[in-house]
Amino acid sequence: MRILLAEDEPQLNRVVKVALESVGYQVDTVFDGEQAISAAKSNPYDVIILDIMMPVLDGIEVLKQIRANGDKTYVMMLTAKAEIDDRVIGLESGADDYLTKPFSLKELIARLRSRERRDAEYQVTEMDYSDLHLNTDQQELVAHNSIRLASKEVDLLSYLILNSEKAISNQEILDHVWKDDPLADSELVWIYISYLRQKMTSIGSKVKIIGEKNGEFVLTK
């Protein structure tokens, strides 16, 4: 899993990053709210951890803006106060979980693992992006016409829709779409990107996947 950690206290930021990396997560760190928004916009994360008390923009404001941009990434809030109001505002603003400082790293890791397990089981069945409508259960893609996709095409397109407008690397695609296939490589990614491009064109969609073989890909209008 790739995690964004937004925490302004340098020492805590460092400790959490090291702890999460030691259990195999990929962690990007930022130190204020503005950096958090810009990182969330440009990278695909599985979890975003936001401190509430941060300079420039506080965690609640960051969360609201992330959600306003249509980003549905799982968000965990870190709050220094044990006050119920703070947690309620966080959850009401679109957070998925919270931890009260001081927290144990063990508990943080346990929660992330629980999240990861659930991720594998929980699937959205209807997705929309611009003129595209994807039913992942029926494997049907609809724009002006409709077409049925193969299951890996559905996985790839869902991942691109969830992270639309972001540059996604080959490796990120392989880690999410072909995570159980050690033989999958950038050649395979390229073939599936090519399938999706032609199938989107064939149903009259204006949505594009920008990018070259072996490079990064962006799903965009």
């Binding site: 002006h144 016409n145 049925r148 193969a150 390229w190 090519s194 399938y195 032609q198 064939s202 009259g204």
Partner: protein, 203 residues
């Protein structure tokens, strides 16, 4: 007496000429590219009975003008291709023929019908030495061309069978499944074409 009257031999001649021309086009293409332009070809003159039936259904007088001017499918040719790209290559080649003008084009591949039907339809106006129904010489005759892939053709034949079978128990479910399969076949057609393009880019 046939509804086509004295023009029937001309219809036969035009059909045969176009079929021969298309076969030659295919062999030339095969010689140059090592691949077929199309997989197979069918042609027919609409039977007297079905042309008469069509005129009656459309409340037209049963005469040669209705058969050759108002209805434009007395001569029909179906071109069945291996790949979607080849359909568009065929269309380009037809359009360059000097004695042929394209009257209408309907692209049901890009704009599939609601039931899932995919095919490319054209009405051609062909100039021929013989006299036509309006007394012009050289004369003008309409020809209907349908172009599709093998997958689209297979689908259409099954859909056609269903349309004329009135004792199907669950027509909604069958229509829904036919539509799903049409979209799956379209997906396969595009995957095949994508693979062909990727192979060609590598060479």
């Amino acid at each position: 007496m046939s509804i086509y009257g004295k023009y029937e031999p001309t219809l036969e001649r035009i059909l045969n000429e176009l079929l021969t021309r298309l076969e030659n086009l295919n062999s030339d293409y095969q010689a140059r590219n090592g691949q077929n332009l199309f997989e197979h070809l069918n042609g027919r003159i609409k039977t007297n009975a079905s042309m008469v039936e069509k005129c009656q259904r459309k409340n037209l007088p049963v005469n040669v003008n209705s058969a050759l001017r108002i209805n434009r499918d007395s001569i029909g040719i179906r071109i069945v291709c291996n790949f979607i790209d080849d359909i568009y290559t065929c269309i380009d080649l037809l359009e360059t023929m000097p004695d042929i003008t394209v009257v209408t084009k309907k692209d049901y591949i890009t704009n599939a019908k609601k039931n899932g039907y995919r095919s490319y339809h054209m009405i051609l106006d062909m100039t021929v030495p013989e006299v036509d129904v309006d007394g012009n010489q050289p004369g003008h005759y309409f020809v209907e061309i349908q172009l599709r892939t093998i997958a689209m053709d297979t689908w259409a034949s099954l859909e056609h069978e269903m349309k004329y079978k009135h004792d199907i128990k669950n027509p909604e479910l069958i229509s829904q499944e036919l539509k799903r399969v049409a979209d799956e076949l379209a997906s396969c057609d595009i995957s095949l074409q994508t693979i062909r393009q990727l192979i060609r880019e590598e060479n």
